[in-house]
């Protein structure tokens, strides 16, 4: 066994590691680890609307109600998976704002035409400036804001029905009840 043998073994070892990741992905439902950034105010922003480019939207839209802000894009295939869940939530009265992240306007509009629009309003963040302020990892991500416009919870990745029922629903309802007392 000489040194070159181990060099030639490297592709095999890399492949086995990759196969391990694939196997892990295969057996698993997306179980997502949230990283909470609690209590920080949502950053100020000035962005055009997706459907009304001439209209400038800002943080004031979001303040006063408990809202979800969902970061999505048409290039993000996981967002397509999440979409029906968001639609169901919107129908049950959850207020969701969309942040269309680094996307093409026309593609995003067609996407919502074809799959339905769960968002009360969609902010169009073509160059990802708000995403940068928020420290977005990628899409999808969802922020939970209280009535004061503070970020109270951040969910990274797809929201599935399971995740909503078992975890996020109670967080959301906690925020709803909080200020009614």
């Amino acid at each position: 066994m000489n040194r070159t043998f181990f060099i030639y073994l490297a592709p095999f070892i890399l492949f086995i590691a990759l196969a391990g990741v694939l196997f892990f992905a295969l057996g698993k439902d997306p179980k997502l680890l949230p990283s909470a950034k609690l209590g920080k105010p949502f950053p100020d922003f000035q962005l055009p609307g997706l459907h009304q480019p001439e209209k400038t939207l800002s943080k004031t839209e979001l303040v006063g109600e408990v809202v979800l802000i969902n970061i999505w894009a048409t290039w993000c295939v996981s967002c397509l998976v999440e979409h029906p869940v968001l639609s169901k939530l919107a129908r049950s009265g959850v207020i969701i704002y969309g942040l269309n992240y680094k996307d093409v306007r026309s593609a995003a509009i067609v996407f919502l035409e074809n799959h339905g629009n769960p968002y009360r309003e969609v902010f169009f963040d073509a160059n990802g400036s708000l995403g940068l302020d928020l420290g977005v990892y990628g899409a999808p991500e969802t922020y939970f804001l209280d009535r004061e416009g503070q970020i109270r919870y951040r969910h990274i990745g797809v929201i599935t029905t399971d995740i909503w029922q078992n975890k996020l629903k109670s967080i959301y309802q906690g925020l709803i009840q909080e200020n009614q007392e």
Binding site: I16, L22, S78, K102, V104, R105, S106, A107, V110, G128
Partner: protein, 666 residues
């Protein structure tokens, strides 16, 4: 009855593939010529049996046999006949059967064309192909059998083919793509056969080159067809989405492109043998990985295919056996290979190695980007996608580097580059390219960006320097003598390189211009409204309804004028397919050499107005035109005299002697 017959043929094909995988291998190791000869017979038999099974499935679609579950989910009696045939590979099970059919086809082709190969090698190559067949056919039989019946409660009519797939582009796209994917199994089989036998010299590279080239041509065309289909069928005006399914086909293409170039070094200079062998394994592995990613459901895609974790587990196991096994074999045997050539920094061999480095980086970029959702999940960061911003950022510099290498490529000789005064004009050409690279887009579009200038100047430079090189090789002295044709001293593989490189430059030009100068407008239009985009006026005339056997449609009419002159009338459609009740946007496109005008009809907004999308897409055709040049280049290599010469006896004797020597040394 006929579906059962198909099932029977498939089971028989499995048994024959098993024989093909075992007997010749045994024969080769024991020196039994009869067993080795079984390779050819079994390869042909396997092809016939799978073709018969495939024909049975086609028949089930044509006669609307909805007792067959696969037919019931993917077809419908309303479907026109040609779509019924393409529906055979419109779903998971059938597309795998097509995969197996094509694999058997490549195996049979090797058996026929490889008569002049040394017996042992041919036997081992066919055995490896047979073992791949065993894996694929068992995957079909155990997890994805298209012949299963829905009895006794079968539906009276089928669920229909996914409307997105009811299209001419999708009739030919998958077979082309699979021809490419599966075609790389041949160079793979050559490497494995060589590693098993312990003989992997440069002659191996010469035998593999034509096979790798054909596979590459099909894959190039297959990918281009897919991109073209997405462009006109999805209604977004985009031609590449960095979708996992697209990336799955791009990775083997990038690796295959690297393989074509490294095979040249191994063939001509006996260099980088180990790398070339590894690359041949990796190219086919990436084809298999693509299949896994598309079929297992670990990544979600806009391309809606049935997915299933059980199937995923099966493919993963298959992947581990094939890829893991070959890489282990590689690790055990590769140190016996020695390349003994020297490299000069500026020489054709190092140029080809640089190309390989660029392509390898590109493969890693696509692989990481595609698997990012899985990796981030595995490391606990949630399921995330990186998307086009990542890919576009990283691909740009790689494309610029590749163009730079290409511009100089025809001038650089093997072994050592000698600067001659004639090459001084390359600087002049570079200068002209930069000037034109600024002026042309500036005049045509009114402004420039540095990305456009860089991409276009480099493309121009590749074009000019390549054409200059070509002209330099044509002997004009003979012009006017005899039949008046210049005597051309060019090998076909040289012409192939010229075509492929110019094709690449053409595609890059198309990509640069389309990305920067497209105009996209989404507007609400009442009948009679007009809209300006670029130099064109679009007038919305109104809508009417139309009906076909498989769908109803609302058809819009839009007149396009330029300076008051009528250019064309576009009729975008919004279709509702009868059976699945899903609606589809059918864009109307006025295609042109320098620009496409693209109109798609959105939703009715209630008060008689409609959402309309209007795109002006300059040079978008160039993207696909370039890929056609590239594949033509590949096709030319096949006609190269050197491959025909291979069949002459003297070369074969020489090749055998060489192998014999290697064996004795090894």
């Amino acid at each position: 009855m006929i579906p059962e017959l198909g099932h029977f043929f498939l089971v028989s094909a499995f048994a024959v593939a098993l024989l093909q995988g075992v007997l010749p291998l045994w024969g080769a190791s024991s020196g039994n010529a009869q067993l080795m000869a079984m390779g050819k017979t079994t390869a042909m038999t396997q092809l016939i049996l799978i073709a018969l099974a495939f024909a049975c499935l086609v028949n089930a679609f044509l006669v609307n046999d909805f007792t067959v579950a696969y037919v019931a989910t993917n077809s419908n009696s309303y479907l026109p006949d040609w779509f019924k045939i393409s529906a055979v590979w419109g779903g998971h099970e059938g597309s795998l059967l097509l995969w197996a059919l094509i694999l058997a086809g490549w195996g049979a082709a090797v058996a026929i064309m490889g008569k002049h190969l040394p017996e042992e090698l041919l036997a081992r190559v066919l055995a490896v192909m047979g073992l791949l067949g065993v894996g694929f056919i068992s995957f079909i039989l155990f997890t994805s059998n298209p012949f299963l019946r829905l009895l006794p409660d079968f539906p009276l009519d089928g669920n229909d083919l996914n409307p997105l797939l009811q299209d001419i582009g999708l009739i030919i796209h998958p077979p082309m793509l699979y021809m490419g994917y599966v075609g790389f199994s041949v160079p793979f089989a050559f490497v494995i056969a060589g590693l098993i036998g312990g003989q992997l010299d440069s002659v191996w590279a010469r035998w593999s080159r034509p096979w790798a080239t054909v596979a590459w041509c099909f894959l190039t065309l297959g990918i281009a067809l897919g991109s073209w289909w997405a462009y006109y069928e999805l209604g977004w005006g985009g031609w590449w989405f960095w979708d996992p399914v697209e990336n799955a086909s791009l990775m083997p293409w990038l690796a295959g492109t690297a393989l074509l170039h490294s095979l040249a070094v191994t063939d001509k200079r006996a260099g980088i043998k180990i790398w070339t062998a590894l690359l041949a394994i990796l190219t086919f592995s990436l084809s298999l990985l693509g299949t896994f990613l598309v079929r297992s459901g670990v990544l979600t895609s806009v391309h809606a295919f049935a997915t299933d974790p059980e199937r995923g587990a099966f493919i993963l196991a298959f992947l581990v056996i094939v890829v893991g096994g070959s890489l282990l074999l590689f690790a055990l045997r590769a140190h016996r290979l020695k390349s003994t050539i020297e490299y000069n920094l500026v020489s054709r061999e190092s140029w080809l190695v640089f190309q390989n480095v660029i392509m390898s980086i590109a493969v890693v970029v696509v692989l990481l980007g595609t698997l990012y959702p899985l990796l981030s999940e595995a490391f606990g960061a949630g399921k995330l996608s990186v998307g086009p911003p990542y890919f576009n950022l990283l691909f740009q510099p790689l494309a610029y580097l590749a163009l730079f290498l290409m511009a100089l490529a025809p001038y650089i000789q093997w072994r050592r580059y000698q600067f001659v005064s004639a090459h001084r004009s390359l600087f002049l050409l570079a200068f002209i390219s930069v000037i034109l690279g600024v002026i042309v887009p500036w005049f045509y579009f009114g402004y420039v960006t540095w990305q456009v200038v860089l991409a276009f100047s480099l493309s121009l430079w590749v074009f000019l320097s390549t054409v200059k090189n070509l002209l330099g090789k044509v002997n004009f002295d003979r012009l006017g003598n005899g039949n008046g044709k210049p005597e051309i001293l060019l090998s076909r593989s040289y012409l192939a390189m010229i075509l492929a490189h110019i094709g690449f430059a053409v595609s890059i030009t198309g990509i640069a211009f389309t990305s920067e100068y497209s105009i996209e407008k989404d507007v609400r239009m009442y009948p009679g409204d007009t809209l300006n985009a670029g130099a064109y006026q679009f007038e919305f005339k109104g809508v009417h309804t139309a009906s076909e056997s498989n769908y109803r449609a609302i058809v819009g009419t839009i007149e396009v004028t330029q300076n008051g002159k009528l250019i064309t009338q576009l009729r975008p459609e919004k279709r509702t397919y009868r059976v699945q009740q899903s609606s589809m946007t059918e864009a109307a496109i006025d295609a042109g050499f320098f620009r496409d005008l693209y109109v798609a009809l959105g939703d009715s907004l209630g008060d008689g107005s409609w959402a309309v999308r209007v795109y002006y897409k300059p040079f978008v055709r160039w993207i696909w035109m370039g890929t056609i040049f590239m594949s033509l280049g590949g096709a030319l290599v096949l006609a190269d005299r050197r491959y025909r010469k291979l069949r002459s006896k003297s070369v074969m004797v020489e090749a055998r002697n060489q192998q014999f020597n290697v064996k004795r040394v090894g």
